[in-house]
Amino acid sequence: MARKVLYERSGLPDNHVSRNFLETLRRNVRVRKYSYWSVVYESGVVTQQLGSVCIFVLCWWLMETGTLVPSQLFTSSLALSFLGYYLYDVIDGGTGRRCSGRTRLADLKSVLIFLSFTYGLSPLLKTLTETISTDTIYAMTTFMLLGHLLFFDYGANAAIVSSGLSLNMALFASVCLASRLAGPLHTFTLITFACELFALWPLLQKKLKKQSTGCHGMLTVLFAVVVVTALAMVAPACAALAIVLLFLLSFLIPLWLVKLQLYKDNIHGPWDEAEIKDDLSGVLH
């Protein structure tokens, strides 16, 4: 059996097919085994993010129809944020703060910036899109929110993930929606609520998920329930749709993913490009 080397003449014709042809071929080397329930557990993140988007749009809708007074929304969201802030430090006993080096004063500074700028610019934001027709605003908002969901950092290290872009898209959508509200105060409360919901809450959410699994599952259920009840209040048809969507998202798709693993067929051999497993970022910090 000819050795596969080029620097020796094996005397055989060049197109001789020896028995060890394609012996180094490997199939499906790096296939991950998925267990159904772990996939369901992981899909909770997506459900939670979808839930927060629905809650935001709902709050806007309530403000739009006047059932929700801006001050109520502002106070409740502020309280929740303080609670979250407190929780954020308690969970890991201050280790997170020590390593990230952000002092409480820095936090206060950024909160002040949020509030002052939003308050200052809200009259301008209010009249910003006055002349732009409503359906353009709705169309832009839906695109921005979809983009937010697409680019959101669910924990997967894929090329598409960019947390900055998703946050910006969410803020842009909130500004568009806010400009449709009645007064500058409404705009102010909605934008602050958007910041808390899209900027601060994901930080807490990630920490909670890392700390305790049970809490993450419980949160997913909580979000699902809140979304469905709120939608039932506003529009029962949407509630039914939401239920189906959530059920689909957390149970059917994982099942489908596990089933699809059977048809996976990729070929590996010496000709494949070698991946660099080392962590080179250390070298080029």
Partner: protein, 605 residues
């Protein structure tokens, strides 16, 4: 390689005679200038040749006329001097030229039957050159002498100095041919003392030549008068120039604001231009080589200035008597009012919902009010100007005698004065727009989480913290929604500005045309084309003998486009190439100011 003999067609059909001419460069090519018929005495011929030798020949070639050989018609030899029986062959010893031509002709025939060329070797013997083949080129001497050789590919021959610098490189044969002809003009002029032809022949004392001008010097009286008159005119012009020159040269103009103003005023530019022209025309000629070979720079300038002032006078004669000027001065305020009215309507339209566009009403109103106030300011500025316009136009009109181009440049200045407000609006809108565009592009990079790395001139990704993101997004949305409004204002005023610039470009393009048009050479090309030779054309004639190729050489006139391109006069009002459209659009989109590209000096490009 066949030898070449250039023979003037006016000397055929020839009688037996001696050929006078010169050798062209180092090749076997001979130029026959004239034929001297028998009887003659050799030393008489030598003294005649010495008298007509050209004084200022270019150093790189020796064009002194000499006896090239003889041409005999069916062997009828008549020799003047009887005591020594001079045969044709012995003549070459006497004249002892480098080469000796013998041309045989049948009586009455226009093409030679044979032509032998003998070459003198080191010890003085004359050997027949072989191959015996000779190219006999008949050239029209009248055209060839009066022609100015400007062949396209002999562009490296335009200035004689350039040519002399590189002596090793032999200039092209055609250049040699025409230079030789123009250097030996002396031979074609009749000897000053004898004026009667018959008397000359009978006494045999003087030389009887045959060439294109043997019937007497050709030339029109006008040319003679012109040549005679040009010296005094030049002196008067120089005196006048000395008077005017300090006006332009004095250092007063170099004080800070003046050069910039000077640069803006096209009238001042045009005056400078006229001054340059006069200085060139009235300065004594520097080039020492025969004038025929230098381009007709002065003639063109004089003609273009004459044309300019002629047009100016025509215009004035039309405007002044019919009172158009007064009508214009009255019409001015009415015109400005109308313009102001239109502008105000435009602004009102912009402040509303222009073309259904959804502008931010508050911003649109603020901008609109700002510009309305400016129009009000401009109206008062114009009403202040009106009393002065009348006299300015009247005296300005008088300037037109110096040239309609001066009038046009005054027109340009007046339009730019009257449209100051359009310029201001444009600048404000452009600055605002540029600010907004730059802000938006950097915030857009922030929006995508990127940053412009100034050091490496590339876009790097970078980690923003939350409040930077928040602030950036807020400002980004605000600027984005305000952009349409400022963009629309900017676009409208840019269009206005471009219209004004367009008008001024048309005017300056005509000025450039009037300044640059080489009238004299154009007329010369159209009337007598062969004077400006652009090339040569050969045609093979019917052959009579085996060893001689008879070829007729005609001179091709230079094409009109080539004349314009070569003789286009430089003008200070340098019109830069107008920017290509894509560049223009890119400048407009990026908000940079569109500089007017018709002005000399700092303009575009």
């Amino acid at each position: 390689m066949a030898a070449k003999v250039y023979f003037p067609s006016c000397c055929l059909p020839a009688q037996s005679a001696v050929l006078l001419g010169c050798k062209l460069g180092r090749r076997d090519s001979f130029l026959v200038l004239a034929t001297m018929s028998f009887p003659f005495t050799p030393n008489r011929v030598k003294s005649f040749l010495a008298s007509v030798a050209p004084r200022d020949t270019p150093p790189w070639c020796d064009f002194r006329p000499e006896v090239l050989g003889i041409c005999n018609v069916s062997a009828d030899w008549r020799v003047l001097d009887d005591e020594s029986s001079l045969t044709a062959h012995s003549l070459c010893k006497i004249f002892n030229g480098e080469a000796w031509l013998e041309v045989e002709l049948h009586a009455g025939s226009t093409s030679p039957s044979s032509c032998n060329i003998y070459r003198r070797d080191t010890n003085g013997h004359y050997n027949l050159r072989s191959p015996r083949t000779v190219v006999f080129a008949h050239y029209n001497q009248r055209e060839a002498v009066t022609v100015r050789w400007l062949a396209e590919d002999s562009s490296d021959f335009t200035s004689m100095e350039e040519q002399t610098a590189d002596v090793t490189k032999e200039p092209s044969e055609m250049a040699l041919f025409f230079t030789a002809l123009s250097c030996n003009e002396q031979i074609f002029l009749p000897p000053p003392c004898e004026d009667d032809l018959e008397e000359k022949q009978s006494t045999g004392s003087s030389v009887c030549l045959r060439h294109w001008q043997d019937a007497g010097p050709e030339g029109s009286i006008v040319v003679e008068l012109g040549k005679a008159a040009c010296r005094p005119i030049r002196r008067v012009g120089a005196w006048f120039l000395a008077l005017v020159a300090p006006l332009f040269i004095c250092r007063l103009w170099t004080i800070a604001p003046l050069p910039w103003i000077g640069d803006c005023l096209s009238t001042w530019l045009q005056l400078h231009h006229q001054h340059d022209r006069l200085r060139v025309v009235f300065s004594p000629p520097v080039v020492k080589v025969p004038p025929r070979l230098t381009p007709p720079r002065c003639a063109d300038m004089i003609c273009s200035m004459l044309l300019d002032s002629l047009l100016g006078l025509l215009l004035i004669s039309h405007i002044y008597p019919h009172g158009h000027l007064e009508a214009a001065t009255d019409a001015l305020p009415v015109f400005t009012q109308a313009v102001a009215g239109h502008l105000q309507e435009l602004l009102q339209w912009l402040m509303g919902a222009p073309a259904g566009l959804k502008l931010n009403s508050t911003l649109a109103c603020t901008l609109g009010r700002f510009f309305l106030y400016h129009i009000h300011l401009w109206l008062s500025y114009v009403s202040m100007l009106v009393p002065y316009v009348g006299p300015v136009l009247w005296y300005g009109g008088l300037l037109a005698t110096l040239g309609v181009s001066l009038l046009l440049s005054m027109l340009i200045d007046i339009t730019s004065l009257l449209t100051v407000h359009v310029y201001c609006f444009y600048v404000y809108a452009a600055r605002l727009y540029r600010l907004q565009v730059c802000g938006l592009s950097s915030l857009w990079r922030l929006f995508r989480g990127k940053k412009w790395n100034v050091l490496r001139h590339r876009v790097d990704s970078c980690q923003y913290d939350v409040d930077q993101l928040f602030l950036g997004t807020l400002l980004f949305t605000i600027l984005l929604f305000l952009l349409p409004t400022t963009a629309l204002f900017y676009l409208v005023f840019t269009l206005l500005r471009l219209m004004v610039i367009g008008g001024q470009v048309v005017l300056s393009r005509t000025i450039w045309l009037i300044n640059g048009l080489p009238v004299f050479s154009l007329v010369q090309r159209l009337l007598c084309g062969y004077n400006l030779a652009g090339g040569v054309e050969f045609e093979v004639l019917t052959q009579t003998s085996k060893s001689i190729l008879n070829v007729s050489m005609q001179i091709q006139p230079l094409s009109v486009w080539a004349v314009l391109r070569r003789f286009w006069l430089p003008s200070r009002v340098m019109v830069h190439r107008s920017p290509n459209p894509t560049q223009l659009v890119a400048t407009i989109l990026s908000g940079e100011l569109v500089q007017p590209w018709y002005r000399g000096g700092s303009g575009w490009g």
